[in-house]
C-alpha cells in the first residue's frame, strides 16, 4: 500500500506536526513499507474474536473512594509553564 504525499500531509496536519519536505518524502516511503508489513494481519480470521481492550485481564480495576485529597499547589503546577499569568497557563490569542 502506497501513501501519497497529500495523505502524509493530511496525517501531519491531524497530528499537529510540521514536517519538512525531506521528512514528508522519508515518511511516505517508510510508512508505506510499515503499512505493507502490517497487512499480514488480514490473513487471520478474527470474526467473533473480542478485542483485548483491557490489559489487566479478568481483573476489575479497584476504585478509590471519591474523596478530596491534596494535589499540586498552583505554583508547583505552573512552575514549568512556558508562559503564565496569575494562576493560568498563558497561550497565544485564539479568538480575534
Amino acid at each position: 500500500m502506497s501513501l501519497s504525499v497529500e495523505e502524509v500531509r493530511r496525517i501531519a496536519r491531524l497530528a499537529r506536526l510540521e514536517l519538512s519536505p525531506e521528512e514528508e518524502r522519508l515518511f511516505q516511503g517508510q510508512l508505506s513499507a510499515i503499512l505493507d508489513y502490517v497487512e499480514q494481519m488480514k490473513e487471520l480470521d478474527v470474526s467473533g474474536v473480542e478485542p483485548m481492550t483491557h490489559a489487566l485481564a479478568g481483573e476489575a480495576p479497584p476504585l478509590r473512594e471519591d474523596l478530596a485529597r491534596p494535589g499540586l499547589a498552583p505554583d508547583e503546577a505552573l512552575a514549568n509553564a512556558p508562559a503564565r499569568e496569575g494562576t493560568c497557563f498563558k497561550v497565544p490569542r485564539i479568538i480575534e
Binding site: 499537529r16 514536517l19 483485548m52 508547583e76
Partner: protein
Amino acid sequence: MSGSAGSLLHLSLLELSEALAARHVSSHEVTEAALSRIAETDGRLGAFLKVTAERARAQAAAADERAARGRRLGPLDGVPLALKDLFLTRGIETTAGSRILEGFIPPYDATVVERLDAAGAVLLGKLNMDEFAMGSSTENSAFKPCRNPWDLSRTPGGSSGGSAAAVAARQAFGAFGTDTGGSIREPAAFCGVVGLKPTYGRVSRYGVVAFASSLDQVGPLARTVGDAAALLQITAGRDDRDMTSSPRPVEDYGAALEAGAAGLTVGVAREWLAAGVDPGVAQRVEEALATYARLGARIVDVALPHTRYGIAAYYLIAPAEASSNLARYDGVRFGLRAGAEGGLRAMYGETRRRGFGLEPKRRIMLGTYALSAGYYDAYYLRAQKVRTLLRRDFDRAFERCDVIAGPVSPTVAFRLGERVDDPLQMYLADVFTVTCNLAALPGLSLPCGLHPTEKLPVGLQLIGRPFDEATLFRAARALERELGPLPAPPEISA
C-alpha cells in the same frame, strides 16, 4: 578499575547490602566509588544523562547515619542505583530523552522513586534512553548515543540502554527501566545483565512518562537474579494513583528463589528457534534448555502460532497509543514552546517540529493514521483482536508448562548506525519481546553465556503466567547458579 574501592563495585547488590549491614563498608565509600567510576568511564559509555552527585552524597550520609544507629531501612538502604530518565524525579530535570522536555523539572516524584527513596536507596542519576522510550538501540536519544560496555562500537540495545549499560559497566548496582515492547529485556540481553518486565499492572506507573499505556510496564535491571528480585520486591504493589496497578498481594520473591529447576516444566516454542535466529544465539538457548533438563525440569514443546503477527499488532497499537499520549507536548503547560508569535496553531506545529526527533514523529504519524477516520477498524481494532489471539496462545501453553523459554533477541548487540536507516528492520528484531507486552505477561532476560564466535552476551527469555514473577525468578536463579556469573565486560579506558 583498581584498588579496594573498585572491587566494591563488583559486588552484587545483595552482597553490598550485607556488607553495609555488617558495616564492613559505608554507603559513603561505595557511593564515592560509583561516582568516580561514572566520572572515569561515562565520557565513553554515555549511560548517564545526568549525575546527581550531591543528592547521592546526602542520601549516602543519611544511610550511614541510620546504619550507625542500627536502623537500616532494609536491603536497599545505602545502595547506589540509577533510573532511566523516564521516571519523574522531584526537583531533578527529567527529559524522557527528548528535546521537548529539556529543562523540565518535575514537581513530584514517580511512585517508584518514592518507594526507592523510602527504602533508603541512593540515586546516582538519570540514565540515557531512546527518545520517549521509542527504539531498540538508544540511538534515538536526543542528547547522545549510549554504547555497549562489551564493545563500544555496538549499541547497548534500547530503549533502556543506559540502564543496562550502567549496570553492566559497574557504574550502579541496579537500575530501573521501562518495557513497552522489549525495552528492558533487549538491552539486558545485549549488555549481559538480568532484566525483568513484570506483569502489566504489577508496578505503579504513576509519574512515569507515558508511551503506550496498554503496554508500558516498569521493571528492574541488575547483575543477579536475586538483586532483580530485591528491586521488584520494594517497588511492586498497588498504588491508588495508578488505576492500572493491581491490588493482588505481592509475593515474597526471595522465598522460592533457591527452590531449583526440579519439578518445573519449561515450555519451548520451536518456531522461536527456527529461521531468522542467529545460530550462535540459538545454540546458547538450546544449551540452557539442556541444562534445565539436566537439573530435573521437564521440557515440553508448546505452540505460539500467532507470534508472527505480534510485530504487526504491536506496531499499530504502540504508535496509536503514543500518538495520543504525545499530544500533550504542545507548548502550553510544560516543556518547549516555539512559534507562539504565529498564533496557537503555529505554536503547536513549531513546538512539535523542533521538539520531537525523527522516531517519535514517525510513530505519531503511523499512530495518527491508524486511528484516523475510516482506518480504525482495519488497524487498531484488528490489532486488539490479534492481541486476544496471542494471549490465548499463551493461556493454552501455560496449561502445559510453568515457564516458556526462548531467545530475547534474534541476534547479539548490533553496531551503532547499522539499522538506523531502516525502521522496519529495527522493528522486526522485537519479534520475541513484543508478545509479552501484548499478552500482558511477565518476561525475564537472563544472561546465558557469550556468543560462541562474537563473544558478546546472549539473553535467554523466560516468560511466565500473569503475576507469577516468583516462578520466573526461581527458574532464572536455577540456571544462573549452574552457569555462574558472566565475566565482567572489558575495562573501559578513560
